[in-house]
Each structure stands twice: as structure tokens, then as C-alpha cells.
Symmetry: C2
Subunit: 227 residues, 2 copies
Amino acid sequence: MNRLMKPGARERETLLNSGLLSALGVESVAAMMEIAVIGSLPARQMLFREGEAADMLHCVLSGYVRVYKLDPDGREADVELYGPGDLIGASVVLDGGRYGATAQAAEPSLIARFDLKRVRDIAARRPDLAMALANALSGQLSRVFASLADDRLHTAPQRVAHYLLTHCPADGRAGSFRLPYQKSLLAGKLGLAPEALSRAFSMLRNHGVSVRGRLVHIGDPDALRRI
Amino acid sequence: MNRLMKPGARERETLLNSGLLSALGVESVAAMMEIAVIGSLPARQMLFREGEAADMLHCVLSGYVRVYKLDPDGREADVELYGPGDLIGASVVLDGGRYGATAQAAEPSLIARFDLKRVRDIAARRPDLAMALANALSGQLSRVFASLADDRLHTAPQRVAHYLLTHCPADGRAGSFRLPYQKSLLAGKLGLAPEALSRAFSMLRNHGVSVRGRLVHIGDPDALRRI
DNA sequence: CTCGTTCATTGATCGAAATCAAATAAGACT
DNA sequence: AGTCTTATTTGATTTCGATCAATGAACGAG
């Protein structure tokens, strides 16, 4: 963690709107703000590693954090990608155990960190915080269920098509948008090798999708849904 | 749900030792016991379906519950398998939304159900319950992360070997044990077609594993680890 | 603007597991 | 025990995506 600091006005703002804090009462927000520490991370820096004693809760303010697990041979499998406002679910280790995965900044990022012990103390007297944690986790659990099922049921072009449909701002209509991060990151998030993502994109060109750099144009959303 | 009833002595016992209730204070336990309803399910009966409004929290007392997602063509992908004492994480929908997956009894089962609205009410005044929920969810999240990574990194024989190692009571030593459920269920849990599981078992025969029905004998745990 | 590095695309090959099909084994119920 | 149903195994084929290798494009630093 490069620079450590108390939250400034800008970070406060993001933090207040984050999934974790947005539903809290004022007193719980104050208690959490009290213990928040902001850190800025350069790209590729680790937040925590699989197996380390878990002592911090993390929340992304800006940038993206990639969470992955390692294989004995060093191969990596991404399990989640967290963006601005997200509580890093893999860092919610409430029983004093160890992190079950590694978290790495995928680009320069601003992260809020909370001492887990203190979070536990606050949550033990403030049900709204405990519920906010449970809420965030239940949402993440169902998202992971969705990607697990997606992995097992759909081909690469189908997963990419689904990603595009759910991330295109013009919901249901033709339109353009910009991928929020590198294609290699997207590939990891979708459980694909970068080559497979590339091939999926080129297959989708026959279905009304055009890609130039990070710019994606969807010509026929219905065709995409039928892939 | 076939028979509905208040918990009897036997069910109370299991419930008290379950992941959800075991860490609660006496008053929270009492409050939860108050609203618990026990139901017995025949094999194959659904507890809830993907997309239904979520109004109940479920906890398995006996038997196994398979949670899966459906594909437009009707294909199924198992995302989790819950056994005795497990809180069904997919039924923890705290924001009043809908179930994100379908839950089906894999064999005749006894299930404790709690009205979600009332659980929310209790948790809103009792931090220990909210924390127990968060705890259960964080544990499940990390287990799902593990299976997602396992899926992406390991071959079928490797996943089966890993399963056997972690489920063999004689931890680390040679020994026998009985699979807790049908092989087709295990296949689903591991994200494999039943045929693939069968082939994985026959491959493992060359590595000191013998299988007869549900009976598995592990001759050389170290060999399994090296698969 | 240009160099140099990282990222993305494309091609060729290979391996793993799904799928289809059929035979065998195991259970459940009379 | 005998029958009927459901599980499991085994074989043949096919598809998908990983991997290896090489080229081409994009981007940041000087």
C-alpha cells in the first residue's frame, strides 16, 4: 500500500455511496469512517495473498481489483473482479481465519481498508452493519453462482454476448459503449484465455457486433440473445 | 412441503448445532426457534425455484439439497450441494428479491424454514444473528470461489482426487469411506457429467483407489495428491 | 514523433470432457 | 425371488477451448 491517509472529501463521497456503507445509519457510518484508511495502489500491486492471516476488510473506491486463486504450478484462475463501490467479498473473513484467494490491483486503484477486528466489534453492537455485510455477501454469492453456472452451461461466444448485453447502457436497444477495462481482464473474469475472448469477439462480428479497441457497438441485441 | 410441524426434540438438537444457530446467544436461538417450521420433503421435491419471490430461509436438518441453475434449453448446472447443518446460502435473500437458483431435495430430507421477513426483523435488533448470517455467507462465498477455481484449473481426475482426499475421514492416511450420496450427485457437485466421473474413478484405480458401489478405498493418499 | 513494451489477434495443434448410444449393474417394490 | 426402474459403466465421436507460436496493433515514455 503506497500512501496511507484518512479519507478526504472525494473518497468520503464514494465510500458513502458504496454497497457497504450506503444502507447504514449515520452512527454506523461515522464509526466506520473513523476506522477507514485509504490507500492508493499502483497497477499489479497485491492487496492480500491467499493463505495470509486476514486482518483487513477492503472496499474499492476507484480502479479494479482482481481476485484469483493459484494452482500449485502457478496458473491463475480469476474468481471475481471488483470495481468502484464494491466490497471485496473475499476479504470478508469474519472468523479470524485466512484469506482464501489473492487480490491484486488490476490498474491504479484507491482502496478503503478497515481493520477486521474493529469491524467485528462495531458489527457486534450495530446490527445495521452486520446486516449490510450479510447483504453484500448474499448478493455476491448469487453472482458467483451465476458465473459458475454460466461457465458450465455456455460457450465462450454465449458468455461474451451475455456480458455485452448486460453491460450495454442502452439496455435492449442497439448502441455503443466502452469496455471498462482491458480485454485480458475481461477474459479472466469470463474464465477464458485471452485468445478465446478474441475469437469470441470475431465470431460475434457475424451477429452485429463491431469492436474497435475498447469500443463495442451492438447492432442487433436480439441476435445476440439468440447466440 | 409435505408435513409441516413445529420442531421436535430431534430436530431441535440438529438445529442447535447447525452453522446458523450454533454461535447465537440463547435469546436469539429462542427467537429463531419460535419461528422455525420443519418440513419433510420427498426426494426430487423443490424447495424453491429460480425467479420466485424469496420469502423463506432454509436450513438442512437431514438429507441433501441440490441447488442449480437452469439454461434456456433446460440443461442444469449444479452450483451447490447442502447437507445436514447447512444454511442454504442461495435462500439468503435479504433485500426482498427473488431466488437466484432452484433448490431441490436430492433425497428424502428434513428442512427447517424461517420466514425471511421475520428473520430480518430479528436480525435488525440482534447483531449476533446478523453476524451469524454474514459468517455463514462468507464461508460459502469462499467455498464457491474454491470450486470455481477448481473447475477452471483442474481436470476431472484431479478434482475427484481432491474430493476424496478432503472427504476421507482418515485424513492423510490410507483408509476407506462411504460416499455420502449418489455418484450422479457427486458428478453434479464437481461440475462433471456422470460419465466423466465414472471415467475419473477408473483412471484413479491406477493410483491406488478402489471403488465398489459407494465404498471407496484410498490406498496411497500421496499418489492421489500428485495426480 | 518514434521507439519499445505490452496487449490483441490469428493460425495450428492438442487434449479434455460433453454428448450420443448401448450394455450392465444395482435397487426398490411386489 | 422376480420384475421394473433407475444408476452406472463403457465405447465412439465430436466439440470446445487451452496452449504454443508468430504477427500485428496500441499505447506510454522520452
